[in-house]
């Protein structure tokens, strides 16, 4: 009799009998956080204030980390918090503040084809939601605890997926080197000569090539190479 009461308490076990009208607690939390994530994302892509857009992106990505936690993917959730909230958003904020000096409302944040974009987005949303609801209407996730803990994820990552993992580390190194090379600037490969003199009596770096470069350089770079021409 107690087993029957337990079965009645856990609800119907038939997947087809589970209704959307009687959601579980996890589903209610998922739905509420999902509404917050979606609202933050919509504000992030529509607001005119660029820095506010980046901060709404923080809210959306943090909410997604909570959704990962609800789907028992703990390690992925903390990686999301560390990498997205910790580095990607900070990089985006750096980029915004380096390229858009007057921070504030920028009325030209949206392009002129925003209505076309709205139509395309609504069409893709309608198509995708119809498709996935029709496909996965009766599918049920059995959430078991520990499915995505650090131990389980680490074991699968370093046993099964170790080759792609190492390839990705090489890719990250290449991206790092590429970003450094790109942001050093392509035009000024030769460093500007210092004004101090060494024993030869010439300023450091004042050989013939630098003088030729100074002659061929645009006038914006002339003050940097001026000491080379004086000697």
């Amino acid at each position: 009799m107690s087993a029957a009461a337990l079965l009645a308490a856990t609800g119907p076990l038939d997947p087809a009998a589970r209704s959307f009208l009687s959601p579980t607690g996890v589903e209610i939390v998922f739905l509420l956080v999902g509404i917050a994530v979606l609202g933050s994302a919509v504000v992030a892509v529509t607001t005119k204030q660029l820095v506010h857009a980046a901060l709404w992106l923080v809210a959306a990505l943090g909410g997604l980390a909570v959704e990962f936690l609800l789907l028992t993917a703990e390690f992925v959730a903390w990686v999301q918090v560390l990498i997205y909230l910790g580095s990607v958003v900070v990089l985006v904020l750096f980029g915004l503040m380096l390229t858009k000096a007057p921070i504030g409302r920028s009325p030209d944040a949206d392009s002129k084809n925003r209505w076309v974009a709205l139509v395309v987005a609504l069409a893709s949303a309608g198509t995708l939601v119809t498709l996935v609801v029709d496909a996965f209407r009766t599918s049920w996730i059995d959430l078991g605890a520990g499915g995505g803990s650090a131990a389980v994820t680490g074991a699968s990552l370093f046993r099964t997926w170790v080759l792609p993992f190492e390839a990705l580390s090489v890719l990250l190194l290449a991206a790092l080197v590429g970003a450094i090379v790109l942001s050093r600037g392509a035009g000024r490969r030769v460093p500007a000569p210092r004004s101090g003199r060494i024993r030869a009596g010439r300023p450091v770096g004042s050989n013939g090539t630098v003088a030729q470069r100074a002659a061929a350089a645009p006038p914006a770079e002339a003050p940097e190479t001026a000491p080379a021409e004086e000697s």
Binding site: F20, T24, F30, G34, A41, A44, V45, A54, L57, A60, L61, L64, E67, F68, L71, F75, V76, V79, Q80, I83, Y84, V88, L91, V92, F94, G95, L98, T99, K100, S106, D108, A109, D110, S111, N113, V116, L122, S124, A125, V129, V133, F136, S139, W140, I141, L143, G147, G148, T153, S156, L157, F165, L168, L172, A175, G178, A179, L182, S183, G185
Partner: protein
Amino acid sequence: MHLAYPVVLAALLFSVGVYGVLARRNVILVLMSVELMLNAVNLNLVAFDAWLRDSLHAGQALTLFTITIAAAEIGLGLAIVLLLFRARGTADIDRAIALGDPAESTADVDEAPVGTEALKGRATA
């Protein structure tokens, strides 16, 4: 949990990202929208991993890889954006039309002043 909840949320989030990519003008806002789309894919991967109970945890491993690639992408993308800003003085995608079709930009009345402005900016830069 019904699988429909995370999958529908991922589809809607992807559509929001599509709107942002198409409607935004600043390159960095476009990059942010791309991040939203990548996160929608991540949510799908985690949800299907939990649904299929994969013993290799392919979904979560692929999510970690996607996050890594997104970090590399945003680093390189911001370096390119800073180069563009240094060369042109603007971060608008609509003005980076040096490789665009010139006949189209002169035929379109709205785009014509933007094109000449970009050309002028390139001449002075």
